[in-house]
């Protein structure tokens, strides 16, 4: 039976490499973990195992049994990963979990340089995965740190590998010497990381965005659970109201006030039961591709709701009869963070939407009509950029009254359905409040007047009625008479339906905060809001907000340090706009600004061609110069030094003849250049001795180099004029 092979020398350099290996893999894991691509249990398990692997003493000899066990374990995990990816479509999660398992396996067996190289490779794979899924501002910071740490780890691993290659005695020397020159190695690591960083920036800026999209089929959807969802439960709102996280940034196209008060609608619900709103209606609104790449909504008669103004081409909402401000249109560009929902937030009432794809993957992004006029999107993970056009004009009281109280169309009956599980008291209250109202508007106004006596609070205590099993909205209407927007909106929707008014609850955001640094409006999680839409026949769905004005907005100082928050928001917005959303258009704009592209050129090919030809010439000249220099210098270093001196002397008009030895030539030049006679004679003698005498030592070569340097410093650069 053969003895298992020893796993080599372990010294201080190896320990330092160990620590850096762990650090680089930690940073790489953070790039995916911060994008929420690793499940918490998976991350925690990997972390615990990594700590165990790191603190336990490493075996000094290979254990074949342990190796076999790991091999079988990895094979089983690979099969499980494939099965999970196929059956649950969790390709990304399964892949990253498998990578983490491989990391743990390598951490448990990391004695040799080979294993550390594999750890570095795994780290780089995680960083690449992070580049695909992490659109956070943390990625560039982590990537910069990773470059430095991984470079240093590679350097140390290389030194250790050299020691391993040359035997244990050299390994010990290398370990000792390596530790001694740590500052030099760190400098080298920073230099190389700097070069890599510059390469990253240059490639990022200049590499043409071709985006060919091979192998991409269909959308990449991912299931996430946060923020908005397809159901809303009363009472779950308070936590969001204190969250200052920016969820979207809105850049208006054209004029927009400093404090917009538009309701940005997202989810919309038509069914309420036991404190829970959901979708009951099956019918989705109509959407179709229309003007300027926009997906345009169609009305109940399948007519597009968007048109272009004949002269200016400006997009306008189609006017509605009896609604003077119906063509009052708002257009804006939104960058929406990944909230884990497939809803686009647009100002009420949405008319058209256009998603700006960042690349071939996002070309598969599909805008779809949701229920109750929601606009949904099938998209890959990450932030999304889109434009919307909305009808933001509001009908006047007279226009609303003029609608009267028409019969509700058959396809909207779902919005008038009496809600289940409510006590008769609610219906009685609704009828009592709307007793004198003859129009739909009057009914809504009466209900709003009643709710205006209620107070806004986030501090909700269930009343005895609710504890006894009653619906939460009954507790709000009859007992507490205080609540937040979801209670107000639910109460209005419920009472309205009891009074025969078609209503639906809408969740979204209200208000936005102007960021003067980034020149955009920031919408925070704290701006989340609920309101009601009431159907007014030919005027369409009209936004009605029963929440007292004080409770609608979160205020401008939601952050702990508002000024710092604004700076971070502005950086984040610029990052999303210029890094994540950097595309061919932005690239061409940048080149135009840098003067590398003709602004008037439509294709830009002429300038591109010139730039490419210029680059090719520079590369060719550099290549030729290197070849010539190498050809000259390849023979011997002393010849290269001599040729340098000859070149300078030739510039001064002194060239050796074919039969002249270097010493003779120098002696001849000494007469013409008396100021350097001694140095020249010394140089000639030294050169001949090294070139043609006994093999010279390195010291004599260095002396010749010094002598040449002194000579070249003293010799004039050009021939003196007579």
């Amino acid at each position: 039976m053969s003895t298992p092979p020893s796993l080599g020398f372990s010294g201080p350099l190896q320990r330092m490499r160990d620590r850096l290996s762990l650090l680089q893999i930690g940073i790489a894991t953070a790039t995916v973990a911060l994008a929420d691509a690793v499940r918490p249990w998976s991350l925690a398990t990997a972390l615990l195992l990594a700590i165990w692997a790191f603190v336990r003493p490493l075996p000094t000899v290979l254990s074949p049994a342990a190796e076999r066990a790991w091999t079988w374990g990895i094979a089983a995990a690979l099969l499980a990963t494939i099965a999970r990816a196929v059956t649950t479509a969790e390709l990304l999660d399964a892949g990253i979990d498998f990578l983490l398992l491989l990391v743990v396996q390598r951490l448990f067996n990391r004695q040799r340089t080979r294993e550390h190289m594999q750890l570095l490779l795994l780290g780089s794979l995680l960083v690449v995965a992070g580049a695909v899924i992490n659109a956070g501002l943390n990625y560039p910071l982590l990537f910069a740190a990773y470059l430095v740490v991984a470079t240093m780890t590679l350097l140390l691993n290389h030194l250790v590998a050299e020691g391993e290659r040359l035997g244990i005695r050299t390994a010990a020397t290398v370990s000792r010497e390596g530790m001694r020159v740590r500052p030099v190695l760190w400098r080298a690591a920073f230099t190389v990381a700097g070069i890599a960083g510059i390469g990253a920036i240059v490639t990022f800026v200049a590499f043409p965005r071709w985006g060919v999209g091979f192998f991409l089929r269909g959308g990449i959807a991912r299931d996430q659970q946060s923020g908005f969802s397809s159901q809303v439960e009363l009472g779950s709102f308070g936590r969001i109201k204190t969250d200052a996280t920016v969820v979207m940034r809105i850049e208006p196209v054209g004029e927009w006030g400093t404090r917009p008060a538009w309701h940005l609608r997202g989810s919309s619900f038509d069914h309420y039961s036991r404190g829970r709103w959901s979708h009951a209606e099956d019918r989705a609104s109509q959407l179709a591709l229309g003007l300027g790449g926009f997906t345009v909504r169609r009305d109940r008669h399948n007519r597009p709701e968007l048109a272009a103004t004949p002269r200016s081409g400006e997009l306008r909402a189609i006017p509605r009869p009896g609604f003077a401000d119906s063509s009052d249109t708002l257009r804006a560009t939104v960058i929406l963070e990944d909230l884990g929902v497939d809803v686009l937030f647009v100002a009420s009432e949405p008319v058209a939407v256009r998603v700006t794809p960042r690349g071939p993957i996002e070309r598969f992004t599909q805008v779809q009509a949701g229920k109750s006029d929601e606009i949904r999107v099938v998209k890959p993970p990450g932030p999304i950029r889109y434009d919307f056009v909305s009808r933001v004009g509001m009908p006047s009281q007279e226009e609303l009254r003029a609608v009267g109280d028409p019969e509700v169309p058959a396809d909207l009956v779902a919005y008038t359905r009496r809600l289940e599980g409510l006590s008769p008291e609610v219906g009685a209250l609704a009828l009592e409040l709307t007793a004198g109202a003859t129009t739909r508007y009057d009914k809504v106004a009466a209900l709003l007047a009643h709710l205006s006596t209620f107070s806004y609070t986030l501090d909700l205590q269930p009343t005895q009625r609710v504890l006894d099993g009653a619906d939460p909205v009954e507790g709000f209407l009859f007992d507490s008479k205080a609540g937040h927007c979801e209670y107000f909106a639910t109460a209005l929707a419920v009472l309205g339906r009891q009074a025969g008014v078609p209503t639906r609850l809408v969740n979204g955001y209200y208000g936005a905060h102007w960021n003067p640094l980034g020149e955009f409006y920031a919408v925070r999680q704290a701006d989340a809001h609920s309101w009601v839409e009431v159907y007014f026949d030919r005027l369409g769905w009209v936004t009605v907000d029963p929440t007292p004005p004080a409770g609608r907005v979160a205020g401008d100082d939601a952050g702990i340090w508002p000024a710092a928050g604004q700076v971070i928001d502005a950086i984040r917005n610029a990052y999303l706009a210029w890094i994540i959303d950097y595309d061919l258009g932005k690239q061409l704009t940048l080149f135009e600004n840098l003067g590398l592209r003709d602004r008037t050129s439509t294709s830009g090919l002429g300038r591109w061609r010139r730039v490419l030809i210029g680059i090719a010439i520079v590369i060719a000249v550099g290549f030729a110069a290197t070849r010539i220099r190498r050809r000259r210098g390849a023979a011997r270093p002393e010849v290269a030094i001599y040729q340098r001196v000859l070149a300078r002397l030739a510039r001064l008009g002194h060239t050796p003849t074919a039969s002249e030895s270097p010493r003779r030539f120098c002696a001849r030049v000494c007469a013409a250049e008396p100021s350097v006679a001694d140095a020249l004679a010394d140089f000639g003698a030294r050169y001949e001795e090294i070139r043609f005498g006994r093999p010279g030592s390195i010291t004599s070569l260095v002396a010749l180099r010094g002598c040449a340097a002194a000579l070249l410093a003293t010799l004039p650069r050009r021939r003196r004029r007579p």
Binding site: T113, M117, L121, S124, L125, V128, A131, V132, F143, L147, T151, L154, L155, N157, H158, L159, A161, E162, L166, T170, T173, V174, E177, V181, V184, A188, V192, I195, A196, I198, G199, A200, I201, V202, T203, F204, F207, W210, G211, V212, G213, F214, L216, R358, G359, P360, I361, I579, I580, R627, R630, R631, G633, P637, P695, I698, T699, L701, V702, R705
Partner: protein, 322 residues
């Protein structure tokens, strides 16, 4: 295996410019593949961050090339034998490494045999972590030369895998002056004629007037007056006598039949002859000479110089003049 070597050689030849060669290590191939995959993914997906990662990886490859070139360009090296070299035996060689750049350090360089050239002998590689700017380091190593004669030491290259071990950059070094490789010394008994009393330490005889000069010492009672060294006596004011290494009582002329260098039988005979010469001279009292093909090549003598003369003669016997 041979095919793999051929492929490797082909790639290295393709990546060889004058005086430089580049070899891609296994880790290097993996890194290049990963870079290409990331590049493909970046172009395919249009992901901006993948473009940045791709750029960083490309820059690492280019930066690696620039740094390794700087390391080998700054370094000059010479190999010099530190003692006698015998065929087939490890001999010590000093490797002098000099950083020609006074400002920048040289990191992680080694001096190795150029494995593309099938030269005589093999030298163990040496490695240094750092040579400070303008400094020189000297590292010991060993060389094994397989055959006697005048040979160049194995062709050396300055090599570096700095900074990441992804590529091996090599720079050829100028060919060193040839060294003389003595024949292998076969274990042998002293040749006949050896003085059996030599080991008894007969000082007067060992310090006779013949043979190589050994030293001066003060005159003692009974010394032969002819051995007084008059110039030294005049200079120092008291008598000094010359001592000589004894030529011995006997003379041994080793006879080597003519042969051709490289012929195994002849080489064995040379080896045996060298062994006998060393053993005989080691006794100290026998003068040893060498006759080759009936011609006296080395007249009899003793001492370390005679040893050198004999070994030099044996190192080159049978060589075909070029």
């Amino acid at each position: 295996m041979a095919g793999q070597r051929r492929k490797r050689t082909f790639i290295r030849r393709a990546l060889t410019a004058r005086g430089r060669s580049l070899e891609i290590t296994r880790a290097g191939w993996l890194f290049i593949l990963l870079t290409l995959a990331v590049g493909f993914a970046a172009i395919n997906s249009g992901s901006n961050l993948l473009h940045a990662v791709f750029g960083a990886q490309m820059a690492l490859i280019i930066g690696s090339g620039i740094l390794s070139e700087a390391m080998v360009r700054r370094t000059v090296a010479h190999r010099r034998p530190a003692g006698d070299i015998y065929a087939g035996e490890a001999a010590v060689v000093r490797v002098e490494l000099q950083n020609l750049d006074p400002r920048a350090d040289v990191l992680s360089v080694s001096v190795e045999d150029d494995d593309r050239i099938d030269g005589a002998g093999a030298c163990a590689p040496v490695f240094t972590v750092r040579i400070p700017g303008g400094a020189q380091v000297e590292l010991p190593t060993t060389v094994i030369m397989p055959a006697r004669g005048r040979h160049a030491l194995p062709r050396a290259v300055v090599a570096t895998r700095f900074p990441f071990g992804l590529f091996v950059k090599r720079r050829e070094l100028p060919v060193e002056a040839p060294v003389l490789v003595y024949p292998a010394i076969a274990t042998s008994a002293a040749a006949e004629g050896d003085d059996p009393h030599a080991e008894l330490g007969e000082a007067p005889r060992r310090r006779a007037r013949v043979g190589e000069f050994f030293a001066l010492r003060e005159y003692r009672e009974g010394d032969d007056l002819r051995r007084i060294h008059w110039p030294a006596a005049a200079r120092l004011g008291r008598p000094f006598v010359r001592e000589h290494v004894a030529e011995g009582d006997r003379e041994v002329i080793l006879d080597l039949a003519p042969g051709r260098s490289g012929d195994p039988q002849f080489e064995e005979a040379v080896s045996r002859c060298a062994g006998a010469a060393i053993a005989t001279l080691g006794g100290g009292s026998t003068a040893v000479g060498l006759r080759y093909g009936g011609v006296l090549r080395v007249p009899p003598g003793s001492g370390t110089e005679q040893r050198r003369r004999l070994l030099e003669a044996l190192a080159t016997v049978g060589e075909v003049p070029r």
